[in-house]
Subunit: 333 residues, 2 copies
């Protein structure tokens, strides 16, 4: 597990979009970060206290988290000066970049010399088993999307937050880099070797109390031809009792695939449920989560009402309106 | 590409089943092997000429192929004596074992010293791209199964053989270790990192002549919860124009999963076709291949006739009766 609190490193981020990981951590673990570190020219700002490495250490920061995705996932020499100072002064470093910390000789040497840990969360840390398909105790909910990047992680995190407020037993189970950095644990499913994908999901969601819910972060989409195999491993490895359908209504085509259209929510419901029933015949679709960030309040309300009427399922934007109705549906499940 | 002809190494195989890889090579590339190498106690016999390393080199063997799967995929010291002699005397070595040749210091050193190549076909040799889903020229046929190990590779190889006899343009495209050793090329899909699975299948089946068919080796099953993600990547990365359904009628449960039953051929047809149409709206199911090795001639004939009547599709055991009717259906496609 990655130690908190964090210092969020924004580097020389060209805009807020590049700081997506840091924004996720700030949105979902507001108490986990003591401050932000911005270099000259940084165009991102989380509204946290700007700190030097010395100030962050004095404030108790245990881990510097690289909260910025630069083009190509590359670790520049300017960054390295800061990262090595953090190691020297007692912080671990966590990163989800393609360019691994451990592969940079000077960073690896500094970590070893100062007894610090480098967390490259893009790389699996354990050898996963092959999935055995044995039914596990406890309950599991999986978010499946009409496309990639439609709000599956935010849906799971919002449901976990609401469930904890209600004193329900729930654990968000990250399957991607940002989710791992937000929660401090999880599996980087897209980096797992094919044969072990479903096994890694079983490993992530073990036996639990009968009234405990794992909220499994979805990845990709069954309809996204680049990543559908990853999604399939979640549907079968996760043995979900409940599915939440996730959708972003303003896309003009599948993300990164100009020739492909998103499926309808009806198509997604039927396909995902039929496949999920192979692993858990009792699986149900319990609600719909729509990412309405590109719609006005009125447009959002109208769209959600229309989908709810068409699909006969609770339909919400959990980030905009809260996840209560999805959690109500889970509780009835 | 792995150089032929081969010397098939059977080691100290405890039975014929352990020599599955060598049997596949002998069945499908009868002219590719100059002989077999058997150690003391070997209980497998392909009926090829037994040869020492010197005799194999004199007969022109270019590559020693490890045709035996020992328990745990482990390379013993007794084996190493033979393998190193082969390297010293000028042969390459190809292996699909989990225990990689390159990870054995003495084998790696001998290969380097003598300028030989080690082919660990279980490990991808290239960095695959992420799938882009762009439509490719040429035609593709994919074998999908009700379960793992139901004859998908043999179906593809049998169809390729028949198509070549008819002077049709066709290439079997291996996606597993045995297929790679049989043909000398391909991708070990189960060892590819999740994000790149579909991209590796696109890489394997590039643009081709309009009348050329790739016969893509299937893996796993959409209904096998351990490996379904791998199968999904084939269905979407392969962009098949034609699907062949593969089945083994005597299984009592899914391979390795006592709690799971095989789907019906109707279920497999509907599920696989709907998913394949995401990548290629014109995809069709063209026939059924049944592995009837555990049935008598009469039982086999009756079973094939029954399935054909139920499904309304050409239904054959291509290994027993030839693949002509499947190829007829492809030619009509």
């Amino acid at each position: 597990m990655i130690k908190t609190p964090y210092l969020l490193f924004l580097g020389d981020a060209p805009d807020m979009l590049a700081a997506k990981v840091a924004i996720g951590i700030k949105d979902w673990r507001p108490d986990a970060s003591v401050g932000q570190f911005r270099m000259e020219g940084c165009q991102a700002d989380l509204g946290l206290t700007d700190m030097t490495i010395d100030e962050a250490v004095a404030a108790g920061a245990k881990t510097l988290v690289i909260g910025v995705a630069n083009r190509g996932g590359y670790i520049s020499d300017k960054w390295k000066t800061v990262l090595i100072e953090a190691l020297e002064k007692g912080m671990d470093i966590a990163s989800g970049l393609h360019n691994l910390l451990r592969d940079e000789a000077d960073i690896a040497a500094a970590a070893m010399m100062h007894g610090r840990t480098l967390f490259d969360v893009r790389v699996p840390m354990v050898e996963f088993p092959i999935a055995n398909g044995v039914k596990r105790t406890g309950k599991r909910c999986l978010a499946v999307g009409t496309d990639c990047s439609v709000g599956k992680m935010y849906t799971g995190l919002a449901m976990e937050k609401t469930m904890h407020e209600r004193n329900m037993k729930a654990t968000f189970r990250p399957t991607g880099q940002t989710g791992i950095l937000i929660t401090g644990g999880g599996i980087p499913l897209d980096a797992v070797v094919a044969d072990f994908m479903a096994g890694s999901v079983e490993y992530l969601t073990p036996d639990n109390d009968a009234d405990h819910w794992d909220l499994i972060e979805g990845q990709g989409s069954l309809y996204h031809v680049s990543y559908s195999g990853v999604t399939m491993a979640l549907v079968h490895g996760g043995q979900p009792d409940a599915l939440v359908l996730c959708h972003e209504p303003t896309r003009t085509h599948m993300r990164g695939l100009p020739g492909y259209q998103q499926p309808s929510l009806q198509e997604l419901r039927d396909t995902a449920l039929a496949l999920a029933k192979v692993g858990n015949p009792d699986c149900k679709v319990i609600g719909i989560s729509v990412n309405t960030q590109h719609l006005s309040d009125d447009e959002s309300a109208a769209y959600l009402a229309k989908v709810e009427a068409e699909m006969g399922l609770p339909t919400v934007d959990p980030f905009r309106n809260g996840a209560d109705r999805l959690v109500d549906a889970l509780a009835d499940c």
